[in-house]
Symmetry: C2
Subunit: 244 residues, 2 copies
Amino acid sequence: MSSSSAVPAAKPPIRDALVAAAFRLFLERGFEQTTVDDIVALAGVGRRSFFRYFPSKEDVVFPDHEGCLAEMTAFLAASGPEHEPVRRVCDAARLVLRMYAENPAFSVQRYRLTRQVPGLRAYELSVVWRYERALAEYLRGRFAGRPDGTLRADVIAAAVVAAHNNALRSWLRSDGVGDAGAAVDHALAYVHRTYARPADAQAVRSGAAGAGPGPDGDVVVVVSRRDAPLWRVVQELETVLDRS
Amino acid sequence: MSSSSAVPAAKPPIRDALVAAAFRLFLERGFEQTTVDDIVALAGVGRRSFFRYFPSKEDVVFPDHEGCLAEMTAFLAASGPEHEPVRRVCDAARLVLRMYAENPAFSVQRYRLTRQVPGLRAYELSVVWRYERALAEYLRGRFAGRPDGTLRADVIAAAVVAAHNNALRSWLRSDGVGDAGAAVDHALAYVHRTYARPADAQAVRSGAAGAGPGPDGDVVVVVSRRDAPLWRVVQELETVLDRS
DNA sequence: GGTCTCCTGGCACTCAGTGCAGCCCGCGTG
DNA sequence: CACGCGGGCTGCACTGAGTGCCAGGAGACC
């Protein structure tokens, strides 16, 4: 007889069985109250196999972050000089959101776990730190030569991560209802507005704003509809000012 | 015979002896290669006493952070509405630098340890996270009511911590020579310049830009000097638009 | 069929962290 | 002075995470 007859869900390998078993136990009796032996017993595998798939008990709670980090690293490595750096790291941060949004129920459960287990919070911090390092390294490369290049890179990376996490956590706290993408977009737009260089703004012509130079050329007056998208205004402003 | 005759430096209590013994061993044979039993044997105390002074083996590497965090919390709690919030958190961050600068040799040794031991890096992250949370909570209180108050609070706190750490680590990497205070001041000034609202708004309003709603509230007028940095104008614009 | 190899399981071990019980020492009190 | 008492220190035993090692088994390849 084939081994698939014994376990119906044998197609996903041992790793997935371990994740499922671990979360069942973590949710019903808590993280610290669950031993690795409990998990492997429920998953029906040997204890040694657990540590073959996860270097620590905490890792089983973040089974997809390693892949996401690799994805982000590849994304940044594939960037060219035509990409505006700050926008690029914002887009990279959206990759993380996408991973969370792919499985809202799972993400919400994990969020509740990490919130109340200090050990998991600490572990999550180290995961987030690696994302932030990836962003910062990319920006350091792009900012090489600029004054305070590494300082700006580190600060912007931290700001992007903080904004992303602020929106993400707010979404997770509301049990994954609502548009996580829009919330993160809003948060990242705030950071992008703050740090993206005026010269880096893309030009899209629009009638949202009208502008004209002052009489003696040292003042510019912008009149804009209040509900106009801010970037439209900025683009118009930039066009009028016409300084690189 | 009294126990004080055996150890000349018995005046500082057991805690200091544990820290000294731990660092001696960590530096000469590494963190993971040193067991708690080794430490207590060298310090001449019982194993159980170690865990009465330090909840974990990692804690002995950061013996002063708990106090510094309390100091920062008190500093922020003692702040009044007359303090500009962003400047206040920058000043709070300087408290951490002061702690590091009080003992440069110790700080440099610890930095080298945490750089090469993943477990210590993770632990340091959780320490830094608590500082960042303290700053963010303070800013959230100050920004309550502002649009995107918590977002701004979190982002600014992260930026302050990142800037502080950037300068601090650069100083530690150079073995603690040079003026750490000046480096951190420079880094924090960058963040303060970016985020401080009142100072910025004042500067802009005084000669660079003025803004006000139109008669029926659907138009906004911005007046700006032609040579004003565009991002300053954008910040001002954003403030006005967000209040709607 | 035979062998080779990778994956798995089980065993034993180290070490971090904790609960418990005893011990010593200073201290107040009768 | 003797006695009791409370707090801090110690040793002991225990749980549980993480690791090294080796044996067994299933599939691949010859």
